[in-house]
Structures are given as C-alpha cells and as structure tokens.
Symmetry: D2
Subunit: 336 residues, 4 copies
C-alpha cells in the first residue's frame, strides 16, 4: 500500500510517496482503508520539523483521516468490515482528564499518521462516521472541529445568547462559527479580506470586522456585542492578536487559546486578564468522548463542513503548500 513519508524535514517537498508492506490487524485492531485526509496547521509544523516531539525520518504525517474498515482483529467488537469510520487525534484519550502519556498517542506526531492508503488503529481510537457525512467531510473533524468544540462548548460552556468572536476563516474558526450559530449564539468573524467576510456572513456570521481597516477590532467587537463585550474568543491568532482578544471580552469572558499559529515564543501582557476576570484556557483537540458528543451536535444540526479544496492523493505536497499560503476558507482536504 502507498503512503507519504517525511523523508526530509523543512517543507512539503520533503514528503515522499512510498510503498509500504500491507498491514493486517492484530488483537483489538482495525485496518482502515483511508478515503480522505484533512490538513491542519500542525501538520505543516510537523513537516517543517518544528513540532515539539519531532517525528523520525520516514514518519507518515497527518492526524485527520476517514475511511472504511477493511478487516478487524481478534476481540474487536466496536467495528466490522465495511463500517465507515473516522480516527481520533489522540488515540489514547478516551475520556476524563488529559494525561501526559496521551501525547504519545497523537497521530502524525509521536506515531505514524493517516496520509496513507491503509492505517491500523486500535479499535478504541476510532469512531463511526456520522451518516450524513462523506469521507471528505469526515476527514475534517478530528482536529479542527473538535478544537472548536472543546474551546466553546466543553471549556467555555457556550450558551444560547452568548457572543462568540472568531479570528479569521481557517478550519477551527469556521467550525467555531457553525457551532456558535447552531447553539443559538451571536457570531462575529474577523478577516483581512472583505470577500471572506462576505462568505462568513453567508455561513451565518451576525457581524464581521475587517481587521485591516479596523486595527482596534477588539473595541469594535465590544460595540458589536451589544453588551460590554464578547463571551468567547477562539484565539487561533497568537501573541499578535491576544491583546485585542482581551479587549474584546466582557467581564468574566472566555478565551480559548489554540495558538499553534504563532509558535511558542510569543509573549504578551497576560496580566491584562485580571481586571476583567477573564478565563483563559489552553485547548488541545479533545477526547473521544468529546468527539462523540460533537458528532451528535453536528448531525443534529446538519452542519456541513466547509471544504476549501480537495487535492488528489498524489498531489498531497501541493495541499500542504496551499495551506501554507493561508488563502483558504475552511478546510483543505486530500482524497486518498
């Protein structure tokens, strides 16, 4: 079977399509024919060799894949051949509080990922793909959608009537927009492109802000909130945006830090959160239990993932480059 390996770290050119021996499932394992993969900014960081747990040469990248069960090993009760499935970012984080050891089960990071025709999963590391989704749709969920879900719903306890501020139009923010609208919240979206803001409005954004023409967008978000600020920010921007995000919040507001975009060196005025009594929390994808509950919500609300573009498997490096440019709106997907 074919797979992409990272032959050299640095940029997407280091990805190489190789033949790997076919796999067969051991006890408790499930062999999946991957049909679609989606990319996250983290995959780009991995390929650049900047991810904190640097994978070895020959590592298969990517965390997000959906496909079809080909075969199951002894003792597998959760799935059978033919089932449509989607993998969990953290193969070992089923529920409960996060433990350090779960980092070692992150697909496409500490262990081989899903940019391959076939992948072996532990049966506990898979979920059924919701009926309403194609493989392309399903492949967008494991990282970006779940990050937005954890930030807004699990940690932020999003409530109808709340106001949510989404930064930009990448995968996490667009899912955040869709979840906010499904949950009865008001959504404000920022972008530097009026064209993208127009599309955000079509997806339900109540208000939009062009952060280029409105550099004090935090203050503008307060105005648009109708009260004394927004209740939630999904902070994917990093240190460059954090102070405006704080500005945007109401007393007791929530900021979910994703922050992969700006790397680890970012410094900012953290203590500005004190007088506003803000809650700032790190968000790192989520557990299988969160994924299950999100899937219920996505299905119930018939939320259609926004896919920017689908690349054929052989052109996977181009998909990485497309993500790198940052001109996408929603998710970049590879059809396997």
């Amino acid at each position: 079977m074919k797979a992409f390996e990272i032959k050299t770290y640095g940029d997407p050119n280091g990805l190489s399509l190789v033949d790997r021996p076919n796999l067969s499932p051991g006890a408790g394992q499930v062999l999946v024919r991957i049909r679609a993969v989606s990319l996250n900014y983290r995959d780009l960081i991995v390929v650049r060799g900047q991810y904190d747990r640097k994978p070895q040469v020959g590592r298969i990248p990517c965390s997000d894949g959906a496909g079809e069960v080909l075969a199951v090993g002894a003792g597998v009760s959760r799935f059978k051949p033919g089932d449509r499935v989607v993998g969990c970012f953290f193969q070992a984080w089923l529920g409960g509080r996060f433990k350090a050891e779960y980092h070692r089960s992150a697909l496409g990071g500490a262990i081989d990922g899903v940019l391959a025709e076939e992948v072996l999963f532990d049966q506990e590391g898979l979920l059924p793909l919701p009926e309403l989704y194609s493989f392309e749709d399903g492949a967008t969920l494991p990282c970006a959608a779940l990050t937005a879900w954890q930030s807004l719903v699990v940690r932020g306890r999003l409530t109808a009537g709340d106001t949510v501020l989404l930064l930009g139009t990448g995968g996490v923010s667009i899912f955040g927009l869709q979840l906010a609208k499904a949950a009865g919240a008001k959504a404000i979206v920022t972008s530097s492109s009026d064209e993208k803001l127009k599309r955000a409005r079509q997806l339900g954004a109540d208000e939009v802000i062009n952060y280029r023409s409105t550099p004090e967008w935090g203050k503008e978000a307060v105005r648009l909130s109708g009260v004394d600020g927004v209740d939630h920010v999904v902070e994917v921007g990093g240190a460059g945006t954090f102070q405006q995000s704080v500005r945007a919040c109401r007393f007791g507001g929530n900021i979910g830090l994703i922050g992969i975009l700006s790397g680890r060196e970012a410094t900012t005025e953290i203590f500005s959160i004190v007088p506003k009594i803000l809650n700032v929390f790190g968000v790192y994808v989520g557990s299988r239990e969160m994924f299950e509950e999100m899937n219920r919500a996505l299905s119930q609300n018939r939320i259609k993932p926004v896919i920017d573009r689908v690349f054929p498997f052989a052109e996977s490096p181009d998909a990485f480059r497309h993500l790198e440019i940052g001109a996408h709106f929603g998710k970049v997907v590879i059809s396997v």
Copy 2:
C-alpha cells in the same frame, strides 16, 4: 386605577374588578402602566386558595406583567418614563443562590401581583423589555419562559446535540421546545392531541409522541433519542408522569421538576433514579440575572412567544377559565 382583587377564594369567579387609589413612586420605585399580563397555572392555584402562602382577601393576582414606565421615584437610575419594562417573578432574587426570604417577594403570591392598570415596583425588580417584543409577548416571559430556561440551560446545561423531552404543550413546554431548538438540541414533544403535535412540529419539534396512543412513551422517547435515552426532561406533569420521564432518560440525564400541576401530595418511586444516575432538580422560576441572560438568548434567536389567546382586561376571569380547561397551546394573555 383599576385592578382585579381576589374577593373570595375558590375559582375565577372570586376575582373582582375594583378601583384602587392611584399610586406614586417612592425612593427607588418605578410606577408602571401595565399593558399585558400572562397567566400561569400557579395563578389558578392562588385563586383556588391552594397556594402554600395563601394570600389575603383583596390580593391582586398574577406574576407576569409588561408595560410602560409612567414615573420614577428619587434615586432611580435604571429606568425613565416611557421605558418598556417587564417585571421579575421574585422581586428580590437578583442573582446568586436562592434565599428563603425571596419567597416573600413573589408577585401575585406573598405580595400584590400585576393584574392591574398600574403597579409600583422597586427599580431592581424590573428589566427592560427586549426590543423585538410587544407587551403581550413580554408578559409571557417572567414565569414560564424563565422556568424552562432555568431547567434546561442553567441547571441542565443544555448542549447542542442533546435531546430534550417536553411534556405537553403548555407555556413552559413550548418555551422549552423553542429554547431547545435555538440551542441546537433535538426536541421530542408529547401530547394527547395529534393536532397539537402537528403544531409542535411546525414549531420545530423533531419528534412527537401521542401519549394516549403510546402509554409507554418513556420507552418510545428512548427509541427516538437515537442513543440510550434523552438528556433532559422538563417535568411539568407531576407524579403521573415521573416514572415515564425516568424511563425516557439516558444514564446521567437531567429531570427538571416543575411539578406545580400535580400539587404536593404526589408520591413516586424516587429511587428509580439511582441505577440511571439521574439528576433531578427542583426548578422555581429564576433570578433577575437568569432573566437577563435568557432575554439575550431570546432576542438573538428571535424567538416569538406562542400566545394561545389574548383576553381583554375586563374578561380576566374568562382567561383563568380558559387556562383551567387545559386546551391551550402556549400562553394565555390578558391585554390591560
């Protein structure tokens, strides 16, 4: 000014339209010209003399009123003449945990209510009427809507994708349906009338159950939930429905007990909640802070209160009788 007083307890015939001296606001007080009142089952219990803190002869009934500010007393900063306002059920429960003393501030129970042309409020016991609402709309909110809100959102922590079971089509249940849909949940409604179930579907109910033709409606609700039961029941039915409500729930599900309908003598198998690890909680309207947050949610989602019928002020006793029959769908309102 004119007002209805309870001259004799027993039934709506005991209500009498009287002239009362005009009022003027003292320090911190606001005089409101009531424009609309809505009825709750509790008002019927009050009029029957069955309410636990039996009001005195001459008491003005009703907790839910909306109107216009006529005049304000010294030191009033929250409102000015002309403002459209709605009153809080518990005049003294602004926020935080409930205290025994707040019972003494319940409109139309421990103190005079709002079935009058003019009512004096403490400025702290009023909220601005959301812009999108008429006085009739606004008068439906203080008790029924807030009860549904506290049950589902504040106590039950309603989440997108959850399933909500609503019993019947009275005021609380219809607001529960509307809030559930606004928050991205699945809603199941029961009734003995197929006609009402049809209307519930028009309001967004995903599934409906005629409890007459399906006496084991708890089991049916499990099936319709798509998982192992519903996440929330707004239990307005009382002892007659509680066991089916327990049956309907999934493990760890929530049952908000309103229970005014069936009075205080109801007994039931409370310990059936143990093996399902359910949460059962008493719900008693809500605080002003909850009311404010609900109003944000109602406005954001442009939820239109469902008004069954509007009676003229002079025919208030007929409005009580209409509620008594139980044939309504949504709220019964009196235009003052």
Copy 3:
C-alpha cells in the same frame, strides 16, 4: 484455589467454599492473590437473589477486594508481580460518563466477584493500593468509600464550610463523615444508638442526632446547620428517610441517593424538592478516575478506614450475617 460460590440464593447459608482450577493471565490480564474483601449491603442483596441482574448459580460474590499481583499477561504495563492492588467495582468504567454496558462489568454482580483466593482482572480494572493502607484497609474502598466520594465531592461539589448530613453509621456514611471532615465541612450524624453517636463524635462529627429520640431529625438538622439547612445529604436510608432529608436541606441543597437499603419499591413525595430547589441525584459507586482522585485525598489526609470487624475467609457466611444484623459501625471485612 479456593473460592466462595453462591450455590443457592436466599441467605448467606447458600455460600459454599469450593475448589476452582488455578488461573493464568491472558494478554492484558493480571492475576491477583486476594488478601482481603469487604462487604457491602449490595452483596447481601446479591446473595438473597434480589439484585436486579440476578447472577447465575456458582457465581462468586463480592465487589471489593485488595491483594497482591501474582502474575501478569502479555502487554501488561500498569502492574508487575508483587504490586499491591485494589479492584474497581465497575471493571470497565475508566472515566467519562457512565454507559449502559458498564453494568455488565460490575464485580460480584454481572460477573464473578472477589471472594476467592485468586482473581483475574483486566489491567485497566485495577489501581495501586495507596501505600498507607493494609489489605484490609484497601478492601473497604472500591464501593463504600467511592460512593461517598462521588456523592459528596464529584456530584455535590463539597466545599469547606458546607454542612453534611450522614444517615447512620454504615460504611458509606462513615466514609462520608471522614471525607466531610477532611474537606473542612461540618458533619452531622444520625443513629438510633447513643453509643454509636459517641463514636461518630470521636471520628470528628460536629453534631449528632438520635433519630429515635428526635423523630423530626430533619428539622433538628436545620437548627444544627447554623444556617437554613444542610448543604448535602448522603441518603442511604431510602424512602423511610427521604422526607426528613428534604426537610433538613437548605435551598439549593444536594441529596445523593444511594438507596440500596430500602430496595426499589419505595415511593415518596418527590415534588417536595421543588420549593427548596434541591438537587437530587442517583449515585452508583464511581469510575476508576474518581477512585484515583479519591485515593489521593484519602492518602493526603491519612484517612484510616473504620473497620468494624475482620472475619477469617472460612467464616465468610458469618461476615454476611453480621452485616445483615446491622449492628456494625463502619466496614465488615474478610481476611483471605
């Protein structure tokens, strides 16, 4: 190896000591030499054949055992021979929300229990025994202590300064007392025996009530709370005590229903919880994650389980009879 089997259901005489073939651990399994077992009221119900999922003839009873690892199967990483361990009541409930399927993993109920010299566990169904505990101590934890922990801490969110009402002096209540005191709460204990109340005081109870001489003990608990009632009741009594428990609570108080004692037929005035806005929740032991966090708390506070009496293995039926009489204070243990 020797084990007790339930040969006939009805009473402890139906227990029979038999020889069973020796066991050896398969993949992921751990063989444990049980050193001590503790009894719970549920074990008595099982032996009587009254447990809802009636076990088959030949079933080994008891859920609570501690011992030493004899051998581990392939792939076991959590334990090694010689480790001191304690088993989890629900072998499959590791964390997160409860699922129906977990009922099928309850030791001494749906599957064989621990009243045996040797037991095979899945490695995920065991925890290390905290250092400060003997095997006898450890055997008291899985059901009674965890039930008290879930009720007070996980569900009730026990806070320093709260008042906790404990009914009687059985295993759950005594652990509830110890946990309440460790967490800075005030504890009130009821009993019909002044002698037991004296011992409860020695364990830290701030106040005691003899429910025989004070039949209106709910009202007395309000008085002793110093405020308008207690914050938490660990309701092990059942329908016979529920109304007094409701009476004892303050507005918004918590009642954790254990309720195994009085069986399933109990009826009570559930709607009495509405005007006090109480939270009533079913408690069913707990997950492995809760068990781990409880063990941290027990160790940190050096809580010594209160053991009423230790019986030798051969006299296990006598231990059951001793529990049946109800004269114990704390836990009844069998040394294996």
Copy 4:
C-alpha cells in the same frame, strides 16, 4: 471624627490625619465605628498614585475594615447598633457575575475607604463579623482572604487531595495555605527566607521551596506534588514567576492570577499554557455572596488570620512603609 486622607500621591508620607465632620446614616445606611483596618498591596499602589482609577486628593484610602455599628438609617433591617461588622471590598457586588459598574464601588479606590474612625456604608455592603474573630482578625478578610478563596475555591474548585502551590508568604498566600489545608489539600509554599518557610510549615505547609536556592522551583513543585504537577497556583508574583508557575502545573491545572504585585506591563509566554491545557483566570477579590460562604468555611475550620504586626492608628503611614519593605508574614493591621 478623624481620618487619613491622601494629601499628595507618591508615598506613605502623603497620608495626612485630618478632622472630618461627623456622619449620620441616611435611608438604608449604616454608620460604623471602625476598629481595625488591614493593608493590601493595592493600598500601596493607590497611595503611590499608580492605581488605574486614580483617586482624588483628599481620598481616604484602604478597603479592609471591621468595626461596630453606631447607628442605622431608615429602612435598615440587616444590622442594628452594637453589631460587629466587616465591609465588602466591592460595595455593590452582592452576587452573580461581575459588572463594570461594580468597579465604581471599590472602597479606598473609586470611593473613600475605611482608614477613618467612622465610615458610612450601605447596609448591603456589610457582613456580620464571624463570632470567633476580633476586629483585627476581621479586618484581614475583605481583600486578601477573599482573593485566595475566589481563586482556589470558587474558580479553581479546590478538592481534597489536590496540591496547591503558594508563592511567598504575603496575606493572600498565607490565607491560601490555610484554606488549602482546611480543605484537605496538600500545600507547597515558596519563599526566599528559610525562616519564613519554617513558619509556613508550622501553619501546615506540607512542602516548602526556597526559590533562591532552587531557581527551577516549578520543576521542584512537580516533584513534590507526587503526581505530574500541582493542581492550583495562586499566582501573586507576576510576570517574573509565571513561567515557573506554568512549569509547576499538571495537565489541566489552574492558575489564579492576582498579579497586582508586578503591575500591568508584564509580558510573558502565555501560549505555554496550551500544551498543558491549563486554566488561567483573573481573580479580583470577590462578591458578598463569596464572602459569606468563605466566612462559613473560616468559622467552621476556626482559621486564625495570621497577623504580622498591628500599628496604632496614628502610625498608619508606618504600617504602609512596613508593607512596602515586604518583610511581613501574613497581614499588616492598623488598630483604629
């Protein structure tokens, strides 16, 4: 009556003892003879003129005072002459979520404070002084104790068995230590003084770290936690300590930011909280409802405030200077 006013801003020399006209309570007001005042670092910032809402010349400083009711105005029901009382930092934050307008009710900041013989309070801005406390004890509670309470208990949901890291031995940290121990948690205290660490141990600290001899004290706190890090940090240190505090935390740990010490300009690597999924929240004293619940906990656990030194009223500027040096252990108090 005599009071200290801030005549010139910059340092404690600007404080001046003046005669002010006697006060008499208006409607709803309570006149209090202040008996003791405690100092907080914020008072020093006020006197330096560095507080964000700069008070006017002639402002009476200090937020924390306890005393005795001299007289009450019309309509006062909560207190009567002779009652022992303590004031709330935010006079207007009774309960519920914080609102911007509450900032305008902060004693010794936006409005006159309590460094005076007599002070007029709204009756809602006072609480009864717990019986077990002297006026000196009581004066330590409004700011420092409540800040520790909100951080650990209200926001951090402190649970028995958790590990708490306290930075230094100032007022907030010492209350944090006492609350942590009362709630059954493990407490680790840092200081640069072995002498102070010895005293912290006497107050119950389980572990201590001299941060001068152990500059990597975050790592040391992980080791001392016994698990993968501490559950809570009360972060009074500011930007200089934040990275070590992050280091000290376990996955999902809580950092309460107080942060007055290091001012507003501090920058730090906020995104380091992402991979550890931390919760970082601003803490700003607390509401009256929190204060009431804290008082229950303090009384129940007979927690004795640690008072470093008591200055006579006339020497108030010396008390400020004593705080400024930073050699104190616990609270600095002025007897009025």
